[in-house]
C-alpha cells in the first residue's frame, strides 16, 4: 500500500462525507413543503416585492394629511375579503394620532411637517385567502416637508439643507415605482375662479415638481387634494367628472404640465389626475379670510384617498406591457399560467429561469425601456407575471384544479396576491368609468 494513495483515499472519503452531511443539513434547514406541516410556517415576507412611492409637492398641499387618511382608510378592508395595509407600531401610532387630530372638530388642523420629520413609511399590503391573512407586497412611502421641494414664494428664501435633501430626493426618484405630484386643491380652485394667488401657484410653485416628474421613467400621477372644495366650482357642472374636466383643462393650459403629459403620452406612459379629499364634504368650510375651519359636528368622510395607491401596480405593469409585442405578451401569459401551478417559493426560482428565456429577456427589456432598470426586482417580475395572466376568476379556477394538498398554503399566498392585484385593477376600472377626465392621456389602463 502506498502512503500517498492512502492519503488520497482518505481525502476523498472525508470530502464525500462532508458533502453528504452538508446536503442533509441543507435539506433539513429548508422550509418544509406546504402541507407537510402546519401551513402557517411559510414566511414569504422577507421576499416581498417592494414598491417605492414619492408624493412630491410644495408646502401646504396636504401630503401628510393625505397619507394619514389613506392609511386610516386602508388599514381596514375596503370590501369583504379585500386588502388592507399594516405598518410598524410607531409609524401606525404617528399616523393614527395625526388622523385623530384631523377628525376632532374641536381640535386645530395638524401643523405642517417639519424638515426633521421627513420619514419613509413602510406599509405591508395584506391580502386574504383561505381564511387567513398573507402579506403579499410592500409600499415604501416618503413623507417630507414641502419646503424641500420649494417653488413659488418659498423658493425666494433659502432653506438650510435644501440642497442636500434635494440630492437625496433625486436619488430616491431613481428608485421610485410611482410618483404622485400633489396639487393643492385650494389654490386650484382659486385659479379656476381667476384668482391671482392660484394662477401664480400653477405658474411657479409646481414648476420644480414638474421638473422632477419629467425626469422619472416610472408612472406619475397628479393628485388633486381638497376635492371637497370643488363642489362650489362651476355652477353649471353638476357631475363630478365635469368639475374634474374643468380642473384638467386648467392644468393642461399651463405649458410645463401640458408638455409633461404630451411627453408621456408619446411614450405610452400613463398620467392620471386623481381627485382626493382627506376629510370629505361637510366637514370643514372656508372662512372669508381664506382659512379652512372645521364644522362643529362635521364627520370625516375621506374621498378617493385609496386610489393613488391602487394605481401604482396596474399603471407600472401596464407601462411595461405596452412595450411588449402582442405575441410575446401571449407567450408570457402562457408561461405565467404554468407558473401559477407552482407554490410561491417555487415560483421565485422559476422566475430566475423565466428571465433566462427569450420571453423573460423581453420582459427585462420592456421594463428597462418603460420604467428604468433600477426599479424591477425578481419579486416584482413574479408579481408582474401574476398580473399579466388571465383574468382572476379563470385563473383562480385553474389554480384550484392544479394545486394539491402539499402546496395548498403557498398557493393561498399566491391567490391572496392575485386577489389584491385584481382589486387594484378593479379600482382603476371604476375610476376610469366614473371619472374619464382622470386620464390625462388618451392611453388608459388595461
Amino acid at each position: 500500500m502506498q502512503p500517498i494513495g492512502i492519503l488520497l483515499l482518505l481525502a476523498v472519503v472525508t470530502t464525500g462525507v462532508v458533502l453528504v452531511v452538508r446536503l442533509l443539513r441543507h435539506r433539513r434547514a429548508r422550509p418544509a413543503p406546504a402541507g407537510a406541516g402546519r401551513p402557517s410556517t411559510i414566511d414569504v415576507t422577507a421576499e416581498l416585492p417592494t414598491f417605492n412611492i414619492i408624493a412630491l409637492g410644495a408646502q401646504e398641499t396636504g401630503k401628510t394629511v393625505l397619507l394619514a387618511s389613506m392609511f386610516h382608510r386602508l388599514s381596514t378592508e375596503l370590501r369583504e375579503g379585500g386588502f388592507r395595509l399594516v405598518t410598524g407600531l410607531e409609524q401606525a401610532a404617528d399616523l393614527t394620532d395625526l388622523y385623530a387630530t384631523l377628525r376632532d372638530p374641536g381640535d386645530a388642523w395638524p401643523p405642517g411637517t417639519m424638515i426633521g420629520q421627513t420619514r419613509s413609511f413602510s406599509f405591508d399590503c395584506v391580502g386574504t385567502a383561505g381564511g387567513r391573512d398573507h402579506a403579499v407586497l410592500r409600499f415604501n412611502y416618503l413623507d417630507y416637508a414641502g419646503e424641500l421641494v420649494g417653488g413659488g414664494r418659498a423658493a425666494s428664501v433659502p432653506v438650510h439643507g435644501r440642497q442636500v435633501s434635494q440630492q437625496d430626493l433625486e436619488q430616491r426618484l431613481d428608485a421610485a415605482h410611482a410618483i404622485f405630484g400633489i396639487i393643492d386643491g385650494r389654490r386650484m380652485v382659486d385659479a379656476l375662479r381667476g384668482g391671482r394667488d392660484g394662477q401664480l401657484y400653477l405658474e411657479n410653485t409646481i414648476v420644480p415638481m414638474i421638473v422632477l416628474m419629467r425626469r422619472a421613467e416610472c408612472p406619475v400621477h397628479f393628485v388633486l387634494t381638497k376635492w371637497d372644495l370643488f363642489d362650489t366650482v362651476g355652477a353649471d357642472e353638476d357631475e363630478e367628472n365635469d368639475r374634474l374636466e374643468l380642473a384638467r383643462k386648467e392644468l393642461l393650459s399651463y405649458p410645463p404640465i401640458r408638455n409633461l403629459v404630451e411627453q408621456r403620452r408619446r411614450t405610452h406612459k400613463i398620467v392620471r389626475l386623481i381627485p382626493v379629499s382627506a376629510i370629505g364634504r361637510q366637514f370643514a368650510t372656508m372662512t372669508e379670510d381664506g382659512h379652512m375651519v372645521k364644522l362643529p359636528h362635521g364627520r370625516l368622510r375621506p374621498v378617493n384617498v385609496e386610489l393613488p395607491l391602487c394605481a401604482v401596480l396596474p399603471d407600472l405593469f401596464a407601462q411595461v406591457s405596452a412595450k411588449l409585442d402582442a405575441a410575446v405578451e401571449r407567450k408570457i401569459a402562457e408561461e405565467s399560467r404554468a407558473l401559477s401551478r407552482l407554490s410561491l417559493t417555487e415560483t421565485m426560482s422559476a422566475v430566475g429561469r423565466f428571465l433566462a428565456r427569450p420571453t423573460g429577456q423581453a420582459v427585462r427589456l420592456a421594463a428597462d425601456l418603460a420604467v428604468g432598470r433600477n426599479v424591477f426586482s425578481e419579486q416584482i417580475v413574479g408579481t408582474f407575471l401574476d398580473w399579466i395572466g388571465e383574468p382572476f376568476e379563470a385563473k383562480a379556477r385553474e389554480v384550484a384544479q392544479a394545486i394539491d394538498d402539499a402546496h395548498r398554503s403557498a398557493d393561498q399566498i399566491r391567490l391572496a396576491r392575485q386577489a389584491v392585484l385584481e382589486e387594484f385593477r378593479e379600482n382603476m376600472v371604476v375610476l376610469r368609468r366614473q371619472l374619464p377626465a382622470s386620464d390625462l392621456t388618451t392611453w388608459g389602463v388595461r
Binding site: G62, A108, P111, G161, A175, L355
Partner: protein, 369 residues
C-alpha cells in the same frame, strides 16, 4: 469674534410663518459660523409642549465642534407676535389654516446638559419670540438673526462618553420623544434610510443557470471518482524490485536471492559448455538490474556437470547450419543458438546480451567443440 466661555449658551429659533416654510429664524453664532444650520433644522423632529421636559440632543462631530441642543416648541399666539393685546389667545395660522409651530432653545459646546435650568430656556424663549416678532412683521424681507452667548445655569458635564458617528444623536434625556430605541440603527436626525434599488441582475447571470447545478454536480462526481481511482491504483499497484545478479552463483544461492527479492525462480533446462562451472548459473532472464514487479518470474540456466551424450547420426546426413560469419577469429558469434543439436561444436562468441535458448546471458561465454 472673541472666544466664548465654556458654559455659555446661544439661543436659537426654528419656525415658519403664514407663507414662509420652516427655516432658521435665529441662528446660534457657532452654527452660523460653521454654516451648519441644516443639522439644527433636522434636530427638530416634532412638537415638545411647554409642560413637557425639553429635548436634549448631542450632535458631534460638527464643523465647529461638539454641540448640545436643548429645545421645546410652542404654538405662537397673536399676543406672542405682538399684534394684539391681552385677552383670549388667538393662535397664529399659516395660509392653509394650520397652527404655526416654533422650536426654541439653546445650544452649548463642550459637554452635555444633564439638568436643564428653566431660566436658561426662558431666556432663549424670550430671544426667540423677539426674533419671531420681527419675522412676523415682514416675512418676505426677514433675514435670520445671529444670536450671541449668554451664561447658562444648567448642569453640563464634560464630553459625552463613547464614540459617535457624524451627526449622530448620541444622548438624550430620559422621557424625551423620538429617542432612538435600543437595538435600532441610529439614523442622523432628519435623514431617512436610503431605499434599496431593486435592479434585476445582469442577463449573463441567468444564461446558464439551468445547467449550472447539474453540471457542477457531474463535475464534482467526476473529480471524486478520478481521485478515488488514482488513490486505489496507487494503493494496490505491485511494488517493483531489481533483479539480482544470478550468473556465477550456485543454483541454491540464486534461488535464495530470488526469494529474498520476492521473485519467483523458474529453472530452465541445464546446459553444458566447456568452460562453465557445473552447478552454477550460466544465464538468466531478465538480466540483473532490470526493474520488475514483485512476484514476477526470473528464469535461469544452470551449467551441466558433464557433457551430455551425442545422439546417433541420422541415416542421411544433414549439413549443420553454418555459424554466422565472424568478423575475426575468437570474436563472439552474436545471436548464436546453443542447444542440444549444436552440442560439441566449437563456438567462439560472447553471450552477453544475446539470446541463448531463449535466455539472455549475463556474461561473456566461450564454448569449444
Amino acid at each position: 469674534m472673541s472666544a466664548a466661555p465654556t458654559r455659555s449658551g446661544w439661543p436659537f429659533l426654528v419656525g415658519r410663518g403664514r407663507d414662509a416654510g420652516y427655516r432658521m429664524l435665529l441662528t446660534p453664532r457657532p452654527v452660523a459660523d460653521a454654516d451648519d444650520s441644516a443639522a439644527l433644522l433636522a434636530v427638530v423632529t416634532g412638537e415638545v409642549p411647554e409642560d413637557a421636559p425639553p429635548v436634549v440632543t448631542v450632535l458631534d462631530p460638527r464643523p465647529g465642534g461638539e454641540l448640545c441642543v436643548v429645545y421645546r416648541t410652542l404654538r405662537p399666539s397673536a399676543a406672542d407676535a405682538g399684534t394684539t393685546g391681552a385677552g383670549r389667545p388667538v393662535p397664529l395660522l399659516d395660509r392653509a389654516g394650520r397652527p404655526l409651530v416654533l422650536a426654541y432653545g439653546f445650544v452649548c459646546r463642550g459637554g452635555r446638559v444633564t439638568r436643564v435650568d428653566e431660566d436658561d430656556l426662558r431666556y432663549a424663549r424670550q430671544m426667540a419670540l423677539d426674533a419671531f416678532r420681527r419675522f412676523h412683521a415682514d416675512e418676505a424681507a426677514y433675514r435670520p438673526g445671529v444670536s450671541e452667548p449668554y451664561p447658562l445655569r444648567s448642569e453640563i458635564v464634560g464630553r459625552p462618553a463613547g464614540p459617535a458617528g457624524h451627526g449622530q444623536v448620541r444622548a438624550a434625556l430620559p422621557g424625551q420623544p423620538r429617542a432612538t430605541p435600543p437595538g435600532q440603527p441610529v439614523v442622523p436626525p432628519g435623514q431617512v434610510p436610503a431605499w434599496r434599488a431593486d435592479a434585476l441582475p445582469s442577463p449573463g447571470r441567468y444564461r446558464n443557470d439551468r445547467w449550472r447545478p447539474p453540471a457542477l454536480l457531474l463535475g464534482l462526481c467526476a473529480l471524486l471518482l478520478g481521485l478515488a481511482g488514482t488513490g486505489l491504483w496507487l494503493t494496490t499497484r505491485p511494488t517493483e524490485v531489481r533483479v539480482p545478479q544470478l550468473v556465477e552463483l550456485p543454483e541454491g544461492d540464486a534461488v535464495r536471492e530470488l526469494h529474498d527479492a520476492g521473485l519467483h525462480a523458474e529453472p530452465r533446462p541445464e546446459r553444458w559448455t566447456a568452460d562453465c562451472r557445473p552447478g552454477r548459473v550460466v544465464a538468466q532472464t531478465p538480466v540483473a538490474g532490470t526493474r520488475i514487479h514483485q512476484g514476477a518470474t526470473v528464469e535461469y540456466v544452470v551449467c551441466l556437470a558433464r557433457r551430455p551424450p551425442v545422439p546417433p547420426a541420422p541415416s542421411r546426413s544433414t549439413p549443420a547450419p553454418e555459424s554466422p560469419p565472424s568478423t575475426s577469429p575468437g570474436r563472439a558469434g552474436a545471436g548464436r543458438q546453443v542447444d542440444g543439436t549444436e552440442a560439441g561444436r566449437r563456438v567462439n562468441g560472447a553471450w552477453a546480451g544475446r539470446r541463448v535458448g531463449g535466455i539472455e546471458a549475463g556474461r561473456r561465454y566461450r564454448s569449444s567443440a
